[in-house]
């Protein structure tokens, strides 16, 4: 019995050492030199599950950027952007991760890279956009529907019970007061200014010149190039040329960085998706206390 235990331990230790040696040989192998990270869909803090396919999570993108940063065989990151923007915090989180990356990050705007997505792109080393892509749209909105008139027609009244004058600001069941409107507008202006300052800093442009362009208008890629909002017109090939030149690479082999869904994620997502849709419909009919602010 003792001999058996000794042999067992000897085999396991020998094989572990062999595994470790083989693994260290592989770690020097070439698994790709450029990380390919896709930002496709509305940028939110969390993706909200498997069924929420039109949403990209800033947490996932930041994780991917961190993984690429930690990988010495990765020389650059190609950020493929096809997004209308998203929430200010989620967009800023990705923009910060791009800015603080120790790799060369090139943003490639395909169909659209507007608002928060442009914020992300602006923090990259260079921006490549298709001449017909849509970009810019530097602005913030927080619009919502006011149902108070409709409720009034059905003789339904909103019983306002609050502690704190602004607690139900943005409630769709009552019109905004002047002071509430002023407060919300002030918040949006602050966000807008922060957005402008960030883009100006990222793009090495003066704050005034960015402010002139930051009226919420979107620009075609070719217009954006003339305005200094993008660096190059073109597609993936142009982005690849920039990376090759900057990193002295002869060839680009991509490594896909994306969150892989396990079977549990898929089931959880399906449950979340069902719960989300059910809850959304239910909750929308009862209460919506906060203005929905997006960049």
């Amino acid at each position: 019995m003792e001999g058996k235990i000794k042999i067992t331990i000897a085999i396991i230790i020998s094989l572990f050492i062999l595994s470790w040696l083989v693994a260290s040989l592989f770690s020097q192998g070439d698994f790709g030199n450029v990380a390919h990270i896709k930002i496709s869909g509305a940028i939110m803090s969390e993706s909200g599950g498997f069924l929420n396919s039109g949403v990209v999570s800033s947490s996932d993108i930041v994780d991917s950027i961190k993984k690429a940063n930690a990988d010495s065989s990765i020389k650059a990151i190609l950020l493929e952007i096809d997004s209308p923007g998203g929430t200010p915090v989620a967009s800023a989180e990705i923009a910060d991760a791009v800015k603080n990356s120790n790799k060369t990050v090139v943003a490639w705007i395909r169909e659209s890279g507007t608002s928060g997505a442009y914020w992300v792109a602006s923090s990259a080393y260079k921006i490549v956009a298709h001449p017909l892509s849509i970009t810019g749209s530097i602005g913030v909105y927080g619009s919502y529907l006011d149902f108070s008139g409709l409720l009034g027609r059905f003789n339904i009244t909103y019983e306002r019970m609050i502690a704190g004058d602004y607690k139900d600001i943005g409630s769709p069941y009552k019109p905004l007061t002047d002071s509430e409107r002023k407060s919300l507008q002030n918040t949006l202006d602050l966000m807008h200014e922060y957005f402008i300052q960030s883009v100006a800093e990222n793009r090495n442009m003066s704050v005034d010149s960015v402010r002139k362009l930051a009226n919420g208008k979107f620009y075609l890629g070719m217009e954006a190039k003339n305005l200094g909002l993008v660096d190059f017109l073109g597609g993936k090939e142009v982005a690849e040329e920039i990376i090759k030149k900057r990193e002295n690479l002869k060839e680009i082999n991509y490594v896909e960085y994306e969150k892989k869904s396990s079977i549990f994620d898929i089931f959880a997502g399906m449950m979340n998706g069902f719960g989300f849709s059910f809850g959304k419909g239910f909750a929308n009919g009862i209460v919506q206390n906060q203005a929905n602010i997006k960049t």
């Binding site: 058996k4 396991i12 470790w20 693994a23 592989f26 192998g29 082999n253």
Partner: protein
């Protein structure tokens, strides 16, 4: 001399699961990061391994084959089989040779024709309580109590 009794399918399955756990958590632990990188490489697809992924899969398979072959040749049992109290022997009830031990574990290679054994071995085990790999290598897996009594 007591006759050797072929082990039950459940004991085999239990032993195999234990062995996979040992391999996954212990022996293949150094491959964790590399496997993730290789899986992220864009030129990988499930049915057409290319580039470093092929080499990685071959390396991992060989370590798996070594684990099963060494244990079965030297002790007649892997760690999983020890826990489930079953033992692999030659068809003539003797200790198996190193070639028999090697041959019966070739099913671990994820390439044609070995992948066919992933389907055929379980069918044979359920049907005849002996796998096709065992039939081809003239080996079998039996209850440990009867083996000891001999």
């Amino acid at each position: 001399m007591p006759k050797l009794i072929l082990c039950s399918t459940w004991k085999r399955l239990g032993a195999f699961v234990f062995d996979l756990l040992i391999m996954d958590f212990l022996l293949l632990y150094p491959f964790n990061n590399i496997a993730e990188k290789a899986a992220n490489a864009i030129n990988y697809s499930f049915l057409a391994y290319q580039g470093p992924m092929t080499q990685l899969i071959i390396a991992v398979s060989i370590i798996g084959i070594l684990y099963f072959t060494l244990f079965e040749y030297l002790l007649g049992q892997t760690v999983g089989k020890m826990l489930m109290r079953i033992v692999s022997v030659s068809a003539d009830d003797r200790r198996m040779s190193v070639m028999q031990a090697f041959g019966r574990n070739l099913f671990l290679l994820p390439f044609i024709p070995f992948v066919f054994l992933w389907v055929l071995d379980p069918i044979f085990i359920i049907w005849k309580r002996i796998s096709l790999s065992e039939m081809l290598t003239k080996t079998k897996t039996v209850e440990v109590e009867k083996w000891k009594a001999r």
